[in-house]
């Protein structure tokens, strides 16, 4: 039996689609989960996230605002610098070059929420901080590795 011929290198199916880049997918995943956190904090007062963020006084208010602002800026970066076609001249370079700081900030705020909400004994009530720390881990992973490699600037 004759094996099928390999596709030529110029075949577009050999190239990764620009919307299939791994960093784009990772950022989309981080922004999605952070969006859910922000929506819960702002609009669902009975949720654990809202209770946590509304009972901390002015510091937790600042954290909630900073997390929302970071996610909003992340979406602007995502849309303008990645989703819009490359020939589109309106690119925001400073957002792209400082992207790692924004995601480190989001991860740090998730770690801060974990610090506040974790209990002395591990139990089912710690699933929420477990989710926070997993989100923070992904944020840190993305932020530090991209900055160390420096390929996004």
């Amino acid at each position: 039996m004759i094996p099928p011929a390999a596709r030529p290198q110029t075949d577009r199916r050999q190239q990764v689609h620009r919307l299939l880049r791994f960093d784009l997918l990772v950022r989309w995943a981080i922004l999605s989960t952070s969006t859910v956190t922000c929506l819960l904090a702002w609009f669902v007062p009975q949720s654990l996230t809202a209770v946590l963020l509304h009972n901390g006084g002015s510091v937790s208010d600042v954290v909630m605002l900073a997390l929302t602002a970071s996610v909003f800026i992340g979406y602007i970066d995502f849309i303008v610098n990645d989703i819009l076609p490359d020939q589109f001249v309106f690119k925001i370079k400073c957002l792209k070059e400082n992207r790692h700081l924004g995601y480190s900030l989001i991860g740090g705020m998730y770690m801060l929420q974990t610090f506040v909400s974790i209990s002395a004994t591990i139990g089912p009530e710690d699933f929420l901080p477990l989710g926070y720390v997993m989100n923070a881990f992904v944020c840190g992973w993305y932020s530090w590795t991209t900055a160390w490699r420096g390929w996004h600037v």
Binding site: G56, H100, G107, M111
Partner: protein, 164 residues
Amino acid sequence: MHSFADGIHGLLLGEDGMFERLTPRAVAHAFFAISGCVSSGAVWAVTAPETLGTLPWHQILIGIALSLWGGITRTAERALEASKTARDDKAVVFYLWHELSRDLIVASGIGFLMFAIGSWQSWGVWLLGSALWLSGYLGTRLLAGLGNAAMSYLQRRAGSDTRQ
């Protein structure tokens, strides 16, 4: 045959003895380590738990991670600056693990101090966590700059002493 006293003398003051290897960087690192031990001892004295098991270890681990978070972010930022400089065909020396170790040591030392201050002042958990996190980043940014200035000053002083 060398005596015990000769051995100690050689270890401390010999050509390759301990004090010969005490560079300003090593002194700075030792300072942070000692300050961490002192501050954690102070916290221990104030809180005085009956057993170690009563301490909120999970929260302590997350607090340490919060403090180190800023240090790692600062390292990543400096690594990016170095790669930008290298991109412009300029010579740059940046040893990642060396710089990361330095930032982690600085961040952990400042984190210990901040935790001690927070416990002393009875800060709330939100304020304490924010302070740990911010001090990890800003501490490595500001204090490392001060440390570099101090080390360059010491090296200049050492150079002028040698010339005399």
